[in-house]
Every structure is written in C-alpha cells, then in structure tokens.
Subunit: 480 residues, 2 copies
C-alpha cells in the first residue's frame, strides 16, 4: 500500500468511507481546495485523487456544482433467461387487452407524474432542435405556398428520396415512389394489417410485445397469437414453426427484428434470412416494424428483413419519430405486393401527410449532421441505460433479472420471484412514479413479473431516487 | 332609341355586334381612346359606354390588358329536380364502390391533366399563405423545442381553445378538452365510424354523397344505405323515416348538413332539429360532417346539428383543410358520448397530431384576419361558381340542369337526358380535362347522368375553353 502514490492511497481511504457508508450516495465530496488543506497535499495530488475516484465510478462531477459521492456498483444483475420454445402456443383469446392497456395509460395521464419511466421516448435535449427548426424555417421561406397547397400524393418527393437513400444502408433497394409516408410507424402498422387481414383473423406476434401493437390488433378485431421470443436473438423460429403446424391459419406475422420492444433483442442475420423464407414458404405476410434499428450501439446499420425479400411478402414499416424528432409524426412504409392497396387505405384513412415536416426532415437527413446526431443519441442512450442498470443492481432485490439490449430506449426488468408488476405499478404511481407493468405487453398475465423502464432521459438525481424508491417498494411488497 | 343617351345607343350597337358574332368571345374591345376617335365622342361617353357593357356582362376588364368581349349569358340553366322520397330504399349492396372510385382517381393521376375539375379544392391563391407562413415561423421561434418534443395529448391546448371559441358561433358549447384534433375531417369520419359500428353494419348516407365517405365505408366493411337528398334542403326526413321502418337496423347516419357534397344543399334549421330528434328517438348515432359550412355565401355562421344535441348522440366532425389551408391536414371532432372511445382509437391509429400546424392555425384563427380571409374566400368562390354556371349555360346542351348552391366549391351538373358521365369522363380525360363522374357518388349507377365540377380556381380563359370543350363533347356524345 505504501508503494502506491499518495493520491491512490487517499483514494482507497475515501473508497472505504463510501463503502462503509460514512460518505453517503449524493453527499458533496470535499473540494480540491479543502482536500489540499485537510491532507496537506499539493494541488496536483488533490486533483489526481478526484480523477481517480471519478474514473472508478465513486464520484460524479456535476458541472458548476462540484463532485458528489456515488455508491459502488454491485456485480451486474443476472441477465434474462431464454423462453421455452418447444411448446405449442395457445391462441391468446380476445381478452380485452385494449381496455387494460388504455386503463394503464389513462391512469398515468390522470396521476401527478413526477418521473415517467413508462413511455418509450427520449428527452427533447437528445434531438437536434435547432437544426430542425432552421430547416423548417428555411422550407417555409423557400416554399412560400407550402401551407396553402395540397400535399403531394404518398409523400414529398425529396423526403422519399432521402429515405430511399438511407434505406440502402439497411440493405433495401427501394425506388422513392415505392415509399409511402405515414403518420409514424403506428399508422404504417395499422395500414399493413388492414391491407392483409380481415376481422377475426389470427396475427402472430412476439411475446412479450409492444402494447401499441396489441391495441392495434384489438381495435381491428384481430386475434393475437403470441410466439416465444428470446431476449437475445428475437422471435423463436422453432416456436413459430410449431405454431404454424398446430394452430389455425396465421394471416400475418408482425416482428420487431431490431431492439425489440420490450426485450431489446436483435435478430442475427442468418435468423432473419430463415424467418423471411419460413414466411414465404408458408404464405404468411411478414410485417417488419423497424422503429428502433438506428438506435443500436453499433454504428454499422442493421440489415432489414426486407433486404431478404424476393417476392414482395415483407411489409417494411419504419419511423423517424424516436430517431430524429419526437415532435414530428413521420413514418414510412414499403408494402411489397400490397403497396397500391396500402396507398389507397392511407388516402382513405387520413389523406397525404403534410409536407413541412417532410421537407425539414429531408433537409436534415441528407446532411452529415444526421449521422453525427445518431452517434451522439446512441452514446447518450447507452450511458443512460448503463446508469439505470447500475441503479437496479444497487437498489432492487438481488434476484431481479435484467435485459441487456445492445441499444434502444428501455430495459426489461424481471422482478424478484413472486412480485407483481401491477402491485408495483399501483404503489409507484401513488408516489408519482409511472412505470409500464409487464401486464401491458401480452394478452395473457404471463409478464406480470416484469416491468419495462424507459431510459430515454439523461440520468439525474431525481431519476436515481425514483429508482431507489422502486427498489424499496420491491423489497417491501408481499410476494404473490 | 334616340331618346337614350349616346353611350346607351352605342352600347346597343356593340351588343348587337356581339350577338351576331361580329365581335367574338375573347376579342379585344376597342380602347377608350379608339372609341373616342371612331365615334367622335367625348372621353366620358366612351368610358360610360364601356362601363355599361361591362355591367351588363358583355365586356370583361382585365387589369393592365384592357377590355375583352364576353358572349351573352343565356337564360339561367334549369335547376335540379327534387328527389322522390316516398319509395322504400334498397340497401345498396357491397358493390365494390371503392375499386370504382379508386380507379377513377388513379386514372386521373396517371393522365396528363391540364384542367382539374375533379378534386374539391380551391386554388392556393385563395388562402392566406403569407400570414400562415409567418405564424408558423413565429411558432418555431417561440417554441424552440417544438419539433423535438412529443405532441400534446388529443391536440394542442391553444388550438383547441381557438376551435372551441369558433364553435360557439355555430351554436356549439364545447370545452377545449372536448375537442379532439385529427388528420382532417376524413380521419374524424373514420374514427367516428370505427367507434360506433362493426363490419357488416348498415350506415345510412345521403344520396348522392361524397365519394370519400363511400371509400371509408367500404374499407371498414360497412354497407351504405342511400337516402334520397334534396339539392335544396338536404337529406329527406320522409325517406329516412321510411328506411328506418322498412330496412335492417341502421347503425349510424352520416350527413353533411351544410353545402352537401356534391349537391350543395343546406338544411333549414327546423329540419336540422327534426333530424337530431329523429335519430335520438330511433337510437341512431348521427355523424355530422361539417367540412364546408364556413364557405356559405352568407357571412352569418350556420348552426351545426350538434347545437341541437342534448344527449351526446351527435358526433361533430370538422376541418380547416378547405377553409383555412389546404397544406395543413387539420380536422377536429367532438364525439359526444363516444368521446373517450374516439380518443383511444385516434391514439391507436395515428397518435397525437404534430403541433406546429396547430399553433400556426391557432394564431391565425384567433386574429381578425381569419374572418377577413373567409369573406374574401366566399366571395371569390361565389364569382367562380357564377362564371362556371354561365359557361355551362353557354356551352352545354340546353336540357342540362344545374345545382344552385349557396356556397362551396362545386356545381352538380345533370347532363342532357341519355348522356353518360362515364363516357364524358373518358372523352374529357383524353384531352387532359379531369372531371368527377356521377358514378363516383353512389354505390348504384343512378348518377351516371351527372358530373361534379369543381369551381375552386379563379376563372381563366383556359378554364373557359375546357368548359367549352366539355359542352362540345356533350353535344357530340351519343345518347344511351
Ligand atoms: C415497436 C414499436 N413500433 C411502433 C411504435 C410507434 O411508432 P411511431 O411513434 O413512429 O408511430 C413504437 C412506439 O412506441 C414501438 O415501440
Ligand atoms: C364532405 C366532405 N367531408 C370530408 C372531406 C375530407 O376532408 P379533409 O380534407 O378535412 O380530410 C371532404 C373532402 O373532399 C368532403 O367533401
């Protein structure tokens, strides 16, 4: 120990003080000047001490406020288990999932929410507000009649052009005219399902799945068939095959191949190829929801399922809402051999999208600023997910398990055995903390032991103490 | 004759020259200076001569080009007849109206259209481009995070406020929170029908009706029951009563009480009250489509059906798309007792509307410029409809009949007996003239003898010659 430089010995001293609790999480750490006085050391030693503690994760520097104590990381939480794929699935009944989801949403809207872990969204600060504002202002100036002229059919040409260019990086060769602009990915999913199904049809989905999709199915009178899905590699092809063999005809399959919501899984390319082929061979239209792929940690673009599509059986649905600008409701789709039907349905349902947002987005997407923005967004989200995971490790019961997504906005948390997400939801909301209970992600009750926590906002002490409260509630809640 | 002032005698001389064809439609009329020389008259006589001819409709002054000859008006075209209301209607079958409408629309999109009489829209020049552009730019400046922040639930508060204020003038007392902002009136109609019907249900509609509505019904799997409708006073309550008594249960009724599309009829207030009561008594949800009421000739706001609604049975759907700005897809609705279901469906179908357009519109609507704009728009449309009606009188076969709407964008033309709108459509499109054939306005073939002509663009020589060509084609087409 004595051979260590002075600042390292001091660091060990302070680390011990934190571990024993003498210095608590959130305490202000002595200033450099105070350290110099207290330990009679040089400026450079005091600075090195702080740097060391910070890089080890025991201190947090807050701009203009000084350094603050962080509690040590515990060992990482256990990852989630793989689902059991070898059982024939029951077609989930029409169980009023929609009423259930809508009730959770409504309760969140009514409550005094202080911390929202429920919505899958990132903070405005993570998006290019200024550049988009300028692009929109420019578009207004360059097209003085924009707001009083009827919008272009199926979308603005420049925007569709920019989208087609970006789609190439994801392995899709689309002409701009093959792209239909929609009100976000959610409208694209509605249109895709309306184009290929009839009320009463069975639609296969991942399990667990994004509750927005379950709402779409329910309001269209469709029945969801839930297919076990791996938190690592996505939908189980084995389970899907079994479902195809054992249940009523599946009229469509909806998957989120990249950063699945809520699991965060990413399908390996080989598996994507097999899925596309399996659907083709069984004449099951495959709807791909690509809302999140641009948010993966890795800057290399992920290949869309559509890239393997040879005969128009894949409907690709995508969105800029979470990637470029939450204030713009911009999505798009290519519906393969259903393209003209989908164009007709879009026109009948909501007419062509307004053009201003499309022009502003086209401008930004075509510039190099877009990739810079994405890299920054990915890295912010990565940090935010890591901080949230640490907090869960620190505050939640040790038997808690956690997803390890390689990107995206959220973590999927398996609560300690016996805990109910509904009970946690109720108790948390009473304190202004809004979470998405696992019950929302299935037509069944099988995910009541899970919650989805959004990590879209920069990590703050308020978020930290909300997570601490959630952990405390988990520790107090009775097991079922 | 000699007792008439000189300028009147000269006017009679020129009128005769025009009537005999010595001076043809579109010829340049001698300048004031030339008239002074030719007839050796004073400046004031020459000016009075021109004024007289102009006010009698024989001359047209074109700014900075001089005066041009107009052919005389013929006697007004005969107005449309009343429908026969006393027959029990057949429930129209599911006859693929949608494929038919979509085919006509697609053919128009593919053709080289030079003159578009088909779409119900006004020219961009009739809308406040500059003011809206400034309002949008201001909104961007005042809300720098607008484009990167999630849009407000159900619509922007300021916008809903402005709408609620305006709705008062139409007899509706709505709290801003009772207004749901939608993607135009078309989305509102979709949501209203989705909220209250199931596939297979019968929905009563006016006959003829707006083809967009027939497309909505078809894509939702609903069956249209067409109720005879008067070109003057709107839907026939007698016929509706008969339908209620004689057909399967009617699950909803959709009406356009003001400036019905395509007839242009306006329901008298007493009849509106009776309709609301009839629907209440028979438990038929009443969907009101109020797309056009702000375009009536009369500046006094028309009373919405919703104004008579006492128990939430009326769903009011409205739009700014044709009234304020064709580049904005802004509609709104109040769904009475289905409000929360409609809010849920809107969220599931397309999420909340973007806010920028709402803020720009709110700004403009709340200013006195809005009423000034509406007055100007109404008067432009009135002139344009009058000029189109004159041209029809001049160029079409004498047995042609015509609607006489007190506002709006379009005229509904009953072709000479035996002429087919389909044949006229084909022949006209071959010459780049795009019309809406009567076939598009019903599930039946009963309006093949009609066409709808849009009058939304300022009258030009090109429009005039297109109408002349239509008249010539009508004169040449074989009778069925
Ligand atoms: C998987 C998935 N698809 C679609 C959507 C909706 O996308 P948008 O906001 O573009 O309509 C979401 C948003 O929560 C999502 O998580
Ligand atoms: C009667 C009627 N309702 C609704 C619409 C659609 O309105 P919006 O453009 O606001 O969706 C139209 C447009 O043609 C119409 O004529």
């Amino acid at each position: 120990m004595d051979q260590l430089p002075l600042y390292r010995r001091l660091a060990a001293h302070y680390r011990a003080a934190i571990e024993t609790g003498a210095l608590a999480q959130g305490d202000r750490f002595p200033s450099v000047r105070a350290l110099m006085g207290r330990h009679e050391v040089s400026l450079s030693t005091a600075v090195q001490l702080c740097r060391q503690l910070e890089s080890d994760g025991w201190l947090e520097a807050r701009p203009r406020s000084g350094n603050f104590v962080r509690r040590p990381r515990r060992l990482a939480v256990r990852p989630l288990a793989e689902p059991i794929a070898g059982q024939a699935p029951d077609p989930a009944q029409y169980v009023g999932i929609n009423a259930r989801v809508s009730e959770f949403i409504a309760r969140g809207r009514q409550a005094q929410v202080k911390i929202n872990f429920s919505s899958a969204r990132s903070a405005p600060a993570l998006y290019p507000a200024e550049a988009l504002k300028n692009a929109a202002t420019r578009a207004l100036r360059q097209h003085p009649e924009l707001l009083v002229s009827p919008p272009s059919n199926n979308g603005n040409a420049t925007f569709r052009n920019a989208l087609a260019k970006r789609a190439m990086a994801n392995g899709m060769l689309l002409a701009p005219e093959e792209i239909l602009v929609t009100q976000g990915c959610i409208e694209a999913l509605n249109l895709a399902l309306r184009a290929i199904t009839q009320p009463g049809d069975i639609v296969a989905v991942e399990s667990p799945t994004f509750f927005g999709l379950l709402q779409v199915l329910e309001t269209l009178g469709l029945r969801a068939l839930e297919i076990p899905t791996s938190p690592h590699s996505g939908i189980s092809l084995e389970a899907l095959q079994l479902a195809i063999q054992t249940t009523e005809k599946i009229k469509a399959l909806v998957v989120v191949p990249h950063l699945q919501n809520p699991l965060g899984s990413i399908m390996p390319d080989a598996q994507k190829a097999n899925l596309v082929e399996l659907c083709r061979a069984n004449e099951i239209p495959l709807i791909e929801d690509d809302t999140y792929s641009a948010l993966s940690n890795d800057d290399t673009p992920l290949k869309a399922l559509k890239a393997w599509d040879r005969d128009g059986n894949v409907i690709h649905c995508a969105s800029l809402h979470k990637v470029l600008a939450p204030g713009l409701r911009l999505g798009w789709m290519n519906a393969g051999r259903w393209q003209s039907r989908v164009e007709m349905l879009k026109y009948v349902q909501s007419r062509n999208n307004e053009e201003l947002a499309q022009l502003a987005a086209a401008d930004f997407i075509a510039s190099s600023a877009y990739d810079r923005h994405l890299r920054r967004l990915r890295s912010c989200l990565k940090t935010q997910r890591a901080r949230t995971a640490e907090a869960i490790a620190r505050y939640f019961p040790t038997s808690t398990r956690l997803s390890e997504p390689a990107g995206g906005l959220a973590l999927w948390v398996e609560l300690a055995p016996g805990l109910s997400s509904k009970a946690l939801f109720d108790a948390a909301l009473a304190e202004g903390i809004f979470i998405a209970p696992g019950l929302m992600f299935s037509n069944s009750n099988r995910y009541d032991g899970f919650v989805r926590l959004n990590c879209g906002a920069p990590y703050t002490p308020e978020i930290d103490s909300a997570l601490q409260r959630l952990g405390e509630i988990c520790n107090k809640l009775p097991s079922r």
